[in-house]
């Protein structure tokens, strides 16, 4: 048969941005934080991260196979989910629990809803919340950085229950207790800057999120006025990793600028409420998850004004 020309609908050219490329950028941006985690918590941390990532990819592969759907491990999204989940785990967590978390993230949160782009809450965060609810004590037992000593407190716990706070420099570098990836503020900020430069994320969500936390923590400080207090809130716990990497997850954040700002303010507000008014020292995960749930509604009410003055319904 003679050769036939291709006919397709315009446009006939495409940009070279791909899902794969975006995910790769996120992974690159997480390298400093991952490095910091391995530096501070040793090989055990490296093993935990590797196993979480591998099992995420494995579950993604298996689920797509079972559901008889196209294979999507090539888009690297499962790697990102696994990596983010691993960085949100305490260094002492038993490996099998991390695997349970990865299966929850990929199977229940992501693939049951149709896979990439269709989950309505962030898989890594939902898995973390699920692990916290299920294995509360394991998920909150921390270890001292650069040693094997099991310590009892993260800066946020100290902030809540009293005690001596670590120095600002230690907090910036990450020489504090906490989840693998959340300790080193500087590594996270480097990653954030990379994502911003690569135009993978815009500044709106991280900056408004952190800004809201800063202002509210400053105003609601139970011990009176102290500029250090809100700063501690920013630098400790999962705020930075949450604001830069989790709250900006495309799938579970609003589409428009206006929506993103409302969403980020909501995240900040809920974070402060959870940190100050509940028994838990940390609330970033729940705050983002709750705002994830609200995203469809935010999207619905923040549709842009159409050219020519029409409004979206």
């Amino acid at each position: 048969m003679e050769k036939r020309l291709i006919v397709s609908s315009s446009p006939h050219i495409r940009s070279n941005i791909t899902t794969w490329g975006i995910m790769l950028d996120v992974i690159i941006a997480l390298i400093p934080a991952t490095g910091a985690a391995v530096w501070f918590f040793g090989l055990r941390a490296a093993a935990l991260i590797a196993i979480t990532v591998i099992s995420s990819v494995f579950f993604e592969y298996i689920m797509r196979k079972i559901l008889k759907r196209s294979n999507t491990i090539g888009d690297l999204s499962a790697v990102v989910t696994g990596l983010l989940l691993a960085l949100n785990l305490p260094p002492t967590l038993p490996v099998w629990m991390a695997i349970v978390g990865a299966s929850f993230a990929i199977v229940v949160v992501k693939q049951l809803f149709g896979g990439i782009g269709q989950n309505f809450v962030n898989p890594a965060l939902a898995a973390r919340a699920m692990l916290i609810v299920s294995y509360g004590s394991r998920m909150t037992s921390w270890s001292e950085p650069l040693s094997d000593i099991v310590s009892s407190a993260t800066p946020l716990e100290i902030l809540k229950n009293g005690g001596e706070m670590p120095g600002l420099l230690d907090m910036l570098l990450g020489k504090i207790g906490g989840s693998l990836g959340e300790v080193s503020a500087i590594a996270l900020l480097i990653g954030g800057a990379y994502l911003f430069i690569r135009q993978v994320i815009s500044w709106h969500i991280p900056v408004v999120f952190c800004g809201t936390v800063f202002i509210l923590a400053f105003v609601l400080n139970p011990d009176g006025f102290d500029i250090l207090y809100p700063l501690y809130h920013i630098l400790s716990g999962g705020l930075l990793i949450g604001a830069i990497f989790m709250a900006t997850d495309y799938t579970t954040s609003p589409m428009t600028r206006k929506g993103q700002i409302i969403y980020a303010v909501g995240c900040g507000l809920l974070t402060v409420v959870f940190r100050l008014y509940t028994n838990m020292p940390e609330g970033v995960s729940y705050a983002i998850l709750l705002m994830n749930v609200a995203v469809p509604l935010i999207d619905r009410y923040t549709k842009p004004k159409v050219y020519g003055g029409g409004t979206n319904v």
Binding site: R4, L5, I6, V7, S8, S9
Partner: protein, 267 residues
């Protein structure tokens, strides 16, 4: 005494509300469509909301006014669905059982392709691009838009042409509406011989487009003993009301575009 007080209170409450309600319902009466009431009575009345409507009244209204399927109610079970469907069927006056039929046999062995289509698997999308990739401009595009809308999995795409599995077809007509080429028609289930072509071009053009295109030669018209076939726009159409399924038309058709659809059903 200890028995009388509770009984008195309960029946008192019952009486009070009963009387109050019946008075209220009389005073505030609002007329409702009779059919809605009838359907409402056939529904279970659990008001559980599992159907997605506001209780049984809401579903009854939706069934009557919006044509929602009664199987939305998970409570009633099959017998209720049948009962309501029957009631609605009688109400809308449908008696003849019909099924859908794709009036095209432009399989890949019968037609050529003008181009290689790249894009969304949807007949409308392809139709927007110079009327689709096939050489016949009237034929099935084979991208399965009808299959996608069929609620009963009754359509398969074989070799570039949609085919309807008549055992599964309920005659809902969704595919008829969907087809951009308008080549799916509703015919009585008893209808046998069918012209499997929709090409309205002149004979020569049609023949070039598809090996089994109707060229409007009128051989079948002459052969038909019951005057059931008419040709307009170079296309033969069999009137199922007059057709006796004798098969004379199929015998004479030079293009072999008339065949007995029942053969496929029972084969």
């Amino acid at each position: 005494m200890s028995v009388i007080i509770p009984v008195a209170i309960v029946s008192g409450l019952g009486l009070f509300f009963g009387v109050g309600l019946s008075i209220a319902s009389k005073v505030f009466e609002v007329k409702v469509d009779e059919r809605i009431e009838k359907v409402r009575e056939m529904l279970p009345g659990a008001n559980c909301g599992a159907c997605g409507f506001s209780g049984c009244d809401g579903l009854a209204e939706a069934i009557v006014n919006e044509g929602v399927a009664p199987d939305r109610c998970p409570v009633g079970g099959a017998s209720m669905v049948k009962q309501i469907s029957g009631f609605m069927g009688i109400a809308s006056g449908e008696v003849v059982e019909k099924e859908a039929r794709v009036m095209c046999d432009g399989r890949f062995d019968n037609i050529q392709l003008k181009y290689k289509y790249e894009g969304i698997e949807d007949c409308h999308a392809a139709n927007l691009l110079s009327g689709g990739a096939g050489t016949c401009n009237f034929g099935c595009l084979g991208l399965g838009s009808c299959k996608a809308v069929c609620p009963f999995d009754a359509i398969v795409i074989e070799n570039g042409v949609a085919r309807i599995i008549s055992e599964k077809c309920t005659g809902c007509g969704k595919c008829v509406e969907e087809c951009p080429k308008h080549i799916i028609h509703m015919v009585p289930v008893t209808s046998g011989f069918t012209v499997f072509c929709s090409n309205k071009d002149k004979g020569a053009v049609a023949r070039k487009a598809c090996k089994v295109a109707c060229i409007g030669c009128r051989m079948c018209v002459k052969a038909c003993p019951s005057d059931a076939i008419t040709v307009s726009d170079f296309l033969a159409v069999i009137d199922p009301e007059k057709c006796t399924n004798c098969g004379e038309c199929a015998k004479v058709c030079p293009q072999k575009c008339i065949s007995d659809s029942r053969v496929r059903v029972t084969a």
